[in-house]
Symmetry: C2
Subunit: 322 residues, 2 copies
């Protein structure tokens, strides 16, 4: 029996994307939810709501749901232990959601599932050792070692975004007490902060006019302005890209992956982000490792959602063959 059809859900710090996906990894429907100032109960309601929307839209049964969560996870118990950017703490996520949805639920770290789908079918296809960073509100990390997810000593996940690159730098966000983490200086949040700083210092520029009009600068707008050639927006992307390159030099010295994949919401910026990252990386990494490529996720912002679907499909295969 083939594993059938599933829903993959990528839960980010400021939005969630769910997709109804068949066993050939074709996406039939998508559902989005923007975040609201929510607590754990509202967050779970939003998840159920998005899944229900997809189930109602489909004319086939959904066999299982996979969730990619930016969170430390106890795999054995299916518990979400702590998240830096979400109101989740010590929650029996798998059991609670499985009870509410009435079908099997699989959970893993969002960047882990993104890394897995990129390694199997995407930008890292053919590589056995991969480091992936998913850059959005925060920075998630996924590591594939010899073709399998590496989840750290206690299996809870590798928090690559919470590696310090600037020890006296800005306070990190959410529940991370550190300073100068990669997430604090190279996430979408950091890019917005940098763009707003540049806008305030350069009144009359497109970036400044947009900031005045909206009161804030959304990430996709910064990327759009940068693609249109706006100097300030490009400067913000370069600032973040260089810091990203510093972090990647550390990660390649540690893990020696064959390839580094960058995904998440920020990757719409493409080479405007990745070129400064590559330049900084090559100037810093141990010379014998300087040839490792840094590439965008093939599945772009959907890598997490498709990875979560893969997780559910894998889980169903194990279930039916067990």
């Amino acid at each position: 029996m083939p594993p059938g059809n599933v829903i993959g859900v990528d839960l980010g710090g400021t939005k969630l994307l769910a997709g109804a996906v068949d066993s050939g990894l074709v996406v039939h429907h998508r559902a989005w939810r923007a975040s609201r100032e929510r607590d754990q109960a509202e967050l779970l309601d939003d998840l159920v709501d998005a899944v229900d929307e997809l189930r109602a839209a489909m004319d086939w049964n959904v066999d299982a749901v996979g969730f990619g969560i930016p969170c430390l996870i106890d795999q054995e118990q299916g518990r979400a232990l702590m998240a830096v950017n979400l109101p989740i703490a010590d929650l029996a996520f798998r059991d609670v959601m499985s009870e509410r949805l009435g079908i099997p639920v699989y959970i893993d770290n969002d960047a882990n599932v993104a890394a897995l789908v990129e390694q199997r079918f995407g930008a890292a296809q053919g590589a056995e050792n991969v480091v992936m960073l998913t850059i959005g509100t925060g920075i998630g990390g996924g590591v594939v070692v010899n073709g399998e997810s590496y989840r750290g000593g206690s299996g809870a996940g590798v928090e690559l975004g919470h590696m310090v690159i600037d020890m006296d730098g800005p306070r990190c966000q959410g529940n991370c007490p550190n300073r100068g983490c990669l997430e604090a200086v190279a996430s979408g949040t950091a890019m917005i902060r940098e763009a707003e700083r540049i806008a305030r210092e350069n009144p009359g520029t497109p970036l400044a006019i947009e900031l005045e009009r909206r009161g804030t600068l959304p990430g996709p707008l910064i990327t759009e302005l940068a693609h249109d050639g706006d100097a300030g927006a490009r400067q913000a992307l370069e600032h973040v890209g260089r810091r990203l390159g510093v972090g990647i030099s550390s990660l390649v010295n540690i893990f020696e992956p064959e390839v580094v994949v960058i995904g998440g919401g920020v990757i719409g910026a493409g080479d405007l982000l990745l070129e400064p990252a590559r330049e900084e990386f090559r100037a810093r990494v141990l010379p014998v490792l300087a040839d490792r490529p840094i590439v965008p996720a093939r599945f772009g912002e959907e890598a997490g959602m498709l990875g979560a679907a893969c997780l559910a499909l894998d889980g169903q295969v194990r279930r039916t063959t067990a």
Copy 2:
């Protein structure tokens, strides 16, 4: 047939320690060599010389030699690829030394072998997931995952010392082109630099008097003065210890080891180094991981040498049972 007797050699950036070790890991003789301004040929001569000294001193046969080298290594070929602090590059180390010594030779990264012996018999006994840092001239890193050495994607080793913690910090040393690596700010070399700075700023203090008399401050002297209560020496150790704690917070967020072991020449400083490291670590690491202990290597400065002996003993067991 028991694996017999071996020699373990720990090759550091400024000294080498060799030990004649039996299968019960008892050390019968030791040989030291200080470094000289040497090239690759002289370095190999020193190694052969130290091994020969031990063989001459023993009344039993030496079956094999294990080398721990601060170097990226191609395990399959037995090649030393590149070292940050030694004049070794793309050298068929295992074959060359085996030919010169006339017995089997085994090689691995120095911090990897140190981590292995601490995990089996030392400070990390019972733990399945361990991060070890060996701090001397440079900083080496060893990672044990599920009871086995993790050597990175290409098997060459995890260069934990070349993880950036201060992106605009001092240039790293030797063949590393990076800035603000852990090695650049928390190695024995960094401790000496910091102590000399403090000495110059505080004329008349014991540290300053020693610096004037000798022209430099050797690491062991700084540690000795710190143990005697000298404020400047203690300040230098605290400076380095705090940076060490920053790096450990990153490594624990990434690998989630059950325990972090600190070895190498600097560990003679004990809690004068480790307490500031622990304090900084606990303030920075993700809260759910703050309980992970940071402990000194049980085998202290000899962890690398004993680990290299273990490597040779393991190799002989595989050889005789193959």
